[in-house]
């Protein structure tokens, strides 16, 4: 039962049932080499171009994954000229025409990454090897992002990272083929520091609970540096196991430690749980050193805030983006997403959407899908209108330099989505940093001979 995929019409494919299902998602892997086409991985030759979405559809971050998927679908529609066009209308400068990318209709394939590095890599490999994906995007953790971007570097396929907040992604593990729009732990620290100083004063004693793995450590380090610069004292930094569920044994020592601020360097469900439990320990009703005890969650998203419910009220944190910003980009995107799905987008959805558009735009500007050219087009690209103000895709580390939001849990939400308030938009200049401080090497841009 062997057959060449090339010779089959769509009709026949459908008739072959299961086989058809699988094969339709697949673009030809046997290249017809035209004189015009450079030779590289998955050079699209038909009238469609396929992008690969690596999403956590199962596991603890399935909600983020579902939201990202919605955003990607929306981005693909907009690129193909369907719907209201979304941010295509506000991106400046823009080479996007709303007729696909380089005239080719955009299609996508998906893979369930389960928020596991191994699985994410397997999924990315499948989408590259079998489904002919020209670009891989998505993800909900830094481990995933670092793993997949390493793979993409080897394969010569561009990776547009989704949710990843660790300094490593564009720091010591940065790759020429990997690009991150999301902000990072270091920027969280710089952005949050002044606001904390303003709200809670310069004389504070902080107690850190930190997720015991690389992301947690970088976050703790960044926040420590930022708060100590304010004059705060770090009483204690305690590492907690990933997925501990019950954090009470780490919270009891906080009570009589002499600290008056608790900083939770947790993410996702860990953060939801540790925050909920910390509030129940009465920490926020407590007085310490003559001040009201405070809790800070340096990285927070609206999904986490929803999970923590009431407990998040009045808590400070940072976000990459939030739907109730008032710039034209945000308004357009929120409207477009809301019209399609009936709810405002999360920051995961936003970064996913923007990454897709930025990639497509870079291809248009490069005039080719050839990755080294696309990389050149992305590196050092200055743009505006995507909801984060004027933004630079920094060439040195492929980190987007843009404003960062300091947010605070909403005391009186008007709807189930209205859980966070933007307290301050920290301008890009303030969260700028020297890309060399984290080391790492981007590696070569020439595509690997494989794939």
């Amino acid at each position: 039962m062997t057959y060449s995929r090339k010779g089959m019409s769509r009709r026949t494919l459908i008739k072959t049932g299961l086989a058809g299902v699988l094969a339709t998602g697949v673009s030809p892997m046997i290249f017809t080499r035209g004189a015009w086409a450079q030779e590289f991985c998955n050079n699209p030759t038909g009238d469609t171009v396929t992008i690969g979405l690596n999403l956590p559809l199962s596991g603890a971050y399935a909600e983020e994954g579902a939201d990202e998927q919605k955003a990607y679908q929306l981005a693909v529609q907009h690129l193909n000229g369907e719907g209201d066009g979304g941010l295509i209308n506000v991106l400046t400068p823009s080479a996007l025409k709303g007729n696909g990318v380089l005239g080719k209709k955009v299609a996508f394939v998906t893979s369930d990454s389960q928020t596991k590095a191994d699985v994410a890599r397997a999924g990315a490999t499948r989408m590259i090897e079998r489904d002919g994906a020209i670009m891989i995007t998505g993800g909900s953790s830094s481990a995933e992002a670092v793993a997949v971007q390493g793979l993409c570097q080897e394969m010569g396929v561009i990776f547009m990272a989704g949710l990843t907040h660790s300094n490593d992604t564009t720091g010591k593990d940065k790759k020429r083929y990997g690009f991150r729009h999301f902000f990072n732990a270091y920027q969280s620290g710089i952005a949050l520091g002044p606001v904390l100083g303003q709200e809670y004063g310069a004389d504070r004693r902080a107690y850190h609970l930190t997720a015991d793995y690389t992301w947690g450590w970088t976050q703790e380090e960044s926040i420590k540096a930022a708060t100590e610069a304010l004059g705060w004292e770090t009483v204690q930094a305690v590492r907690t196991p990933l997925g501990a569920a019950d954090f009470s044994q780490y919270l009891t020592p906080v009570l009589n430690s002499g600290a008056d601020v608790l900083i939770l360097n947790h993410y996702g469900n860990d953060m939801v749980n540790s925050l909920t439990q910390a509030v129940q320990f009465g920490l926020r009703d407590r007085q310490a050193n003559g001040k009201t005890f405070e809790i800070v969650t340096p990285l927070i998203s609206e999904l986490m805030a929803k999970g923590a419910g009431e407990n998040v009220k009045g808590i400070f944190g940072t976000s990459n983006w939030h739907w109730n910003l008032q710039d034209p980009g945000t308004v357009a995107f929120t409207k477009s997403f809301g019209a399609a799905y009936g709810s405002p987008p999360s920051q995961a959805a936003h970064t996913a959407y923007v990454q897709t558009l930025l990639y497509a735009d870079a291809v248009e500007r490069a005039g080719t899908f050839y990755p080294p050219e696309v990389i050149k087009a992305l590196e050092g690209f200055e743009f505006d209108g995507m909801g984060n103000g004027a933004t630079l895709y920094r060439a040195d580390d492929h980190q987007c330099m843009k404003s960062v939001l300091v947010v605070r849990g909403n005391e009186s939400p008007t709807s189930q989505f209205d859980v966070l308030n933007v307290v301050r938009e920290v301008p890009r200049e303030e969260v700028d940093y020297d890309p060399t401080i984290f080391g790492g090497e981007l590696g070569p841009a020439e595509p690997a001979p494989m794939c």
Binding site: G25, G65, A66, S111, A117, D118, R126, V146, D212
Partner: protein, 377 residues
């Protein structure tokens, strides 16, 4: 049956298996699974399950911590790449030896108990390995991000030989794509052969006897502990081999491959395929990996295209219903498959195959007891 090397039935099974494995790129085509990465995984997890079956299927000890050896194998292989050479052979050897030693220690302690107590001991050791690999052992494991190759790796042997290049090779031959698959397929076939020999050897019979009645073994003059330990170490080495192969085809070792869910996965593979059979665990591994990689990728777009021939309203209904079971709902299908298989085919898929086989041949041959009662001479 006068050849001492291998019996006729075993030979046929082995040849059949070999052909099936080597022909994967052909027969997996209609299932959409005929791409190197997935076929490599089929081979790798096939080996993992084969080895697990030597412990669980033959000896009857249900380990819930085998992923630890798999993970240790991966880490060892990546370290071999980093420190020595990008060649696959030292990585494999190194991984198998380290995993074997690790299994020796854990097996020595865990085998002091049996039944569920043994299972929990192995689970505990594996979870400790996982938790430590994720956090405290980060200098060795690179924690959350996983151990990766970097340009700055010393690679002493390669330096000495003047070899450059950043991806795994076999005697200079790069191992991507189909080369990688045939490399894995070759190892799977060798692993299958060894498993088959073990099953058919006096040693294998002792393992089965331990599963059947340990008390009788003691009163028959056997010290069962070293037998069980040998089985444990062998299956640990299989797991280490599989882990190393995963690191060779994809040079990254992450802590989550040691988590209890990964250990549970190999248990499920084995039971799904058929405990104690040779082919069953491999089949089980293939099915679970197929679900994880292919079934999970059916999104609504693909479904709409598939059912495009239906009238619009019907199409929407069909797509809505189907999409609950594929794509992000693939776990649901997997769960249902487990329940159905174990309810209707307690011996796993292999029992289904056997039943089909018996059903097909029953009308033809009446006296089917005869072939095995023939004297061996």
């Amino acid at each position: 049956m006068n050849t001492a090397l291998i019996s006729r039935n075993d030979l046929l099974l082995f040849l059949g298996f070999t052909i099936a494995v080597l022909a994967m790129p052909i027969w997996l085509q209609p299932f959409g699974a005929a791409y190197p990465d997935l076929m490599q995984r089929f081979a790798i997890y096939g080996i993992f399950a084969l080895g697990f079956n030597i412990l669980f299927g033959l000896t009857g000890y249900l380990s819930f911590g085998h992923a630890a050896f798999f993970g240790v194998g991966s880490y060892a292989a990546v370290w071999s790449f980093k420190l020595l050479t990008m060649d696959a052979v030292p990585a494999l050897v190194f991984a198998v030896v380290i995993a074997g030693l690790f299994a020796l220690v854990i097996g020595y302690v865990s085998l002091r108990r049996s039944g569920i107590y043994f299972s929990i001991l192995t689970l505990a050791f594996a979870q400790m390995s996982y938790n430590l690999a994720y956090s405290v052992l980060t200098p060795i494991t690179n924690g959350e991000t996983g151990l990766q190759l970097t340009l700055a790796d010393p690679r002493h042997l390669d330096r000495m030989m003047g070899v450059t290049g950043g991806s795994p090779t076999l005697f200079g031959q790069p191992l991507f794509g189909y080369a990688g698959f045939y490399f894995c397929a070759g190892l799977l076939i060798v692993a299958f052969f060894i498993a088959q020999r073990i099953t058919g050897s006096p040693f294998g019979m002792m393992l089965k006897a331990i599963k059947s009645n340990q008390t009788r073994m003691h009163y028959t003059g056997f010290n069962t502990r070293p037998y069980a330990l040998a089985a444990f170490v062998i299956s640990g080495m299989y797991a280490g081999l599989a882990g190393a192969m995963l690191a060779i085809t994809d040079p990254l070792a992450g802590a989550e491959r040691m988590q209890w869910t990964a250990s549970g996965e190999v248990v499920l593979m084995t039971i799904l395929g058929g405990v104690g059979t040779l082919v069953g665990p491999v089949l089980g591994a293939w099915i679970i990996k197929y679900f994880e990689n292919i079934f999970s990728a059916f999104n609504e777009g693909i479904l709409h295209r598939t059912f495009a021939f239906l009238p619009d309203g019907v199409e929407d209904v069909v797509v809505t219903v189907t999409s609950k079971f594929v794509g992000e709902g693939w776990h649901l299908t997997l769960g249902l498959v487990f329940v159905l298989i174990v309810v209707f085919l307690p011996g796993g898929i292999m029992e289904g195959v056997r039943r089909l086989f018996n059903w097909a041949r029953r009308p033809a041959s009446v006296g089917r007891a005869s072939p095995r009662t023939q004297p061996a001479e």
